[in-house]
């Protein structure tokens, strides 16, 4: 029996997850820029410093490489750090630590050391923050063996993935889309952990499968609703986890719908949609009635003005028209 659902934001769901982790496991602590006194760039961690104190809520200097690396070391030594890199844009400064240490040491040491580290970061465009603050690189990170890559799109996942990620012996990167923080919905007050593997079928349909994740999931669902009005029934898959990918759910869906549209905000060439599309081509080739299609971010540094930013990433309308052209080619 689940408790009564409460109205809550995605931001609040993440915060509850962090608070629960801190309360349940003394090895858990938080580290990142302005997570304490400032309350977090996106206000996710507001109040936690007061509640848990400075030892466990650690404001860091602007030193992405050092504090991510310190998180790796602390995890190797048995703690369970949650490192917040304020946004994915700044994570490039810590990439060497993530790739060459976190993702590599377990294998390279012959399994002697695990890196049970969670790194959270905000990702995505849509707030007119321009080229250096609007990257969508979660799909890019999904190239790295040794990492697990999560992209919670729903309140349940925002609330439930963190605890599972902390139980995982591997470095887990959680990408929270900036445009989701204010999203409201209902969540049972006793909502708990959810598994961090497997995709979720968020909508059933028969005419095409829309494969997506993160903020684009909600655009895809809105598009699917409108498409239904036109007689096109889209199945919508939320990947949830970008590494490892859940091939089975995708393959099964395409066996039903025979058409695939993959949607992500990242740059098209070499993005996660390419991987998914190629897997579909490899595994579902004979099930397909049409070539797999993808709708991605334009291959440009994201510009500041709203009309250009909007034009640079998938929107409900562009999803609808892509889906329509896939199902009803002219």
């Amino acid at each position: 029996m689940t408790a009564a659902p409460l109205k809550i934001t995605y931001r609040e769901a993440v915060k509850q997850a962090i608070r629960e982790a801190l309360a349940r496991d003394p090895r858990v602590f938080l580290m990142g820029e302005d997570i304490g006194r400032y309350g977090g760039c996106y206000a996710v961690t507001k109040g936690l410093l007061q509640e848990f104190g400075e030892e466990r809520i650690r404001d860091t200097p602007l030193s992405e490489s050092a504090f991510v690396g310190a998180g790796i070391g602390a995890a190797m030594a048995g703690l369970r750090p949650i490192v917040e890199v304020m946004t994915v844009n700044f994570s490039l400064l810590a990439l060497d630590q993530i790739v060459n240490n976190a993702a590599t040491i377990p294998h390279m040491s012959g399994g002697q050391f695990a890196v049970p580290l969670v790194i959270r970061m905000a990702t995505g465009a849509g707030r007119q923050l321009a080229a250096q603050h609007s990257h969508s690189l979660e799909g890019w990170y999904a190239h790295i063996p040794g990492l697990k890559i999560l992209a919670p799109a729903t309140l349940e996942d925002a609330r439930g993935m963190l605890w599972s990620a902390l139980q995982d012996p591997n470095p887990v990167l959680i990408f929270e889309h900036v445009n989701l923080y204010n999203m409201e919905g209902e969540l049972p007050s006793d909502a708990g952990a959810v598994p961090i593997e497997g995709a979720a079928l968020r909508r059933q349909g028969r005419d095409l499968s829309i494969v997506t994740y993160g903020a684009s999931l909600h655009k895809a669902l809105a598009a699917a609703k409108q498409l239904a009005g036109q007689g096109i029934e889209a199945e919508v898959i939320d990947l949830r986890c970008l590494r490892p990918l859940d091939d089975a759910t995708i393959t099964a869906s395409i066996a039903r719908t025979r058409r695939a549209l993959i949607v992500d905000e990242g740059w098209r060439s070499g993005g996660i949609s390419a991987e998914i599309g190629m897997r579909i081509a490899e595994q579902s080739f004979y099930d397909l009635d049409a070539p797999p299609m993808r709708l991605c971010g334009a291959e440009v540094p994201i510009p500041y003005p709203k009309h250009l930013e909007d034009a640079a990433i998938p929107q409900i309308e562009t999803i609808i028209s892509a889906a329509t052209s896939l199902v009803r080619p002219s």
Binding site: E33, G36, Y38, L129, Y304
Partner: protein, 328 residues
């Protein structure tokens, strides 16, 4: 060593006028932000104007400037026209960067303004390269790199200072130490809080200056540039300053006391320099009113310029992702 610059009335008017222009421009930006005309991140420089104006006053056209996301003051003081700057804040095609950069990414080739940069510390290596280019071409220019004290913790600070010093490049590092990086007080981010002393660890000559005193900043900059142009290698300037406003428009300022802000406001660089100029009989009270009026008019014109600007066509979204030539 250059002495404190001998100020005449014209000089005082210029310094004060620049500071007032910046102040009024930014107050207007804040207003336009609440009206939704400016979006994204907006970082105001209010309270810190003396740094930009003092530094830029000492530069020549040969010098180049590398800035941060808090760069409106730097841009205006460097000579970028207010209209295109405001249009950039709007994201209009008649903005300095064609509207693509917005508040954090003002670029201007004509004044060798190598950009606002929204990655903390991201501009430091660029300035080393600009200094290197100057050196390799035997130019007379300096590369002036402005950054906040928060950037000092980044590895780029360390690598850049070492490289500039090692190669004796003409780079002037200007650290605008406003005591906070977002909500992090410097005591909470640096084990050694006396920043200008860090420069010594690279054997870079450094000065600390009162960043609320435009004349002091100008004098220190001139002194530094003199050493630099004499081939003595990079110079370091720490400007002790304070931002009166929030970090950005999203900041509830939980991390500092109102009283602290009020104390610093008593040292408002504009009021202070205006009072001093009047007391020193360099300016008349009416001069000040005139400057304020002129700046207000300029701001209004800048808004009108921005309002009148066009939006870049969506068809041009991909333009300049790859350049087809190096601009002359």
């Amino acid at each position: 060593m250059t002495a404190k610059p001998h100020l005449d009335g014209a000089h005082a008017r210029r310094l004060l006028g620049q500071m007032i222009r910046i102040r009024l421009f930014e107050e207007k930006c804040a207003e336009l932000y609440t009206r939704g005309k400016i979006r994204g991140f907006l970082h105001l420089y209010i309270g810190e104007e003396a740094n930009a104006v003092g530094v830029m006053e000492a530069l020549t056209a040969d010098d180049s400037v590398v800035s941060t996301y808090r760069e409106h003051g730097h841009a205006l003081a460097r000579g970028i026209a207010m209209g295109p700057l405001m249009a950039e804040m709007y994201g209009k095609a008649n903005g300095t960067s064609g509207g693509r950069g917005g508040s954090m990414h003002v670029f201007d080739r004509a004044t060798r303004f190598y950009g606002g940069n929204a990655i903390v510390g991201g501009g430091l290596p660029l300035s080393v390269g600009l200094g290197l280019a100057e050196r390799m071409r035997s130019g007379r220019g300096a590369a002036v790199c402005l950054f906040g004290e928060g950037a000092v913790a980044e590895g780029e600070f360390h690598e850049s200072l070492n490289l500039a010093a090692l190669w004796k490049l003409p780079v002037l590092f200007v650290c605008e130490n406003n005591l906070y990086a977002m909500g992090s007080a410097i005591e909470r981010t640096e084990s050694e809080t006396d920043i200008h002393r860090k420069a010594e660890a690279y054997r870079i000559a450094s000065q600390r200056v009162d960043g609320m005193d435009v004349v002091a900043v100008e004098a220190a900059t001139r002194a530094a540039l003199e050493h630099l142009r004499a081939g003595e290698g990079p110079q370091f300037l720490e400007c002790r300053t304070y931002r009166f406003r929030a970090h950005s428009m999203f900041d509830a300022q939980l991390y500092r006391d109102k009283s602290e802000v009020e104390r610093w406001k008593e040292r408002d660089p504009i009021k202070r320099f205006a009072d001093w100029s009047v007391a020193a009989r360099l300016l008349h009270k009416t001069d000040i009113a005139d400057l304020e009026k002129a700046a207000a008019v300029e701001v209004d014109q800048a808004v009108a310029f921005a309002e009148a600007g066009d939006w870049e066509s969506v068809a041009d979204l991909g333009k300049f992702v790859l350049m087809d030539k190096v601009p002359a």
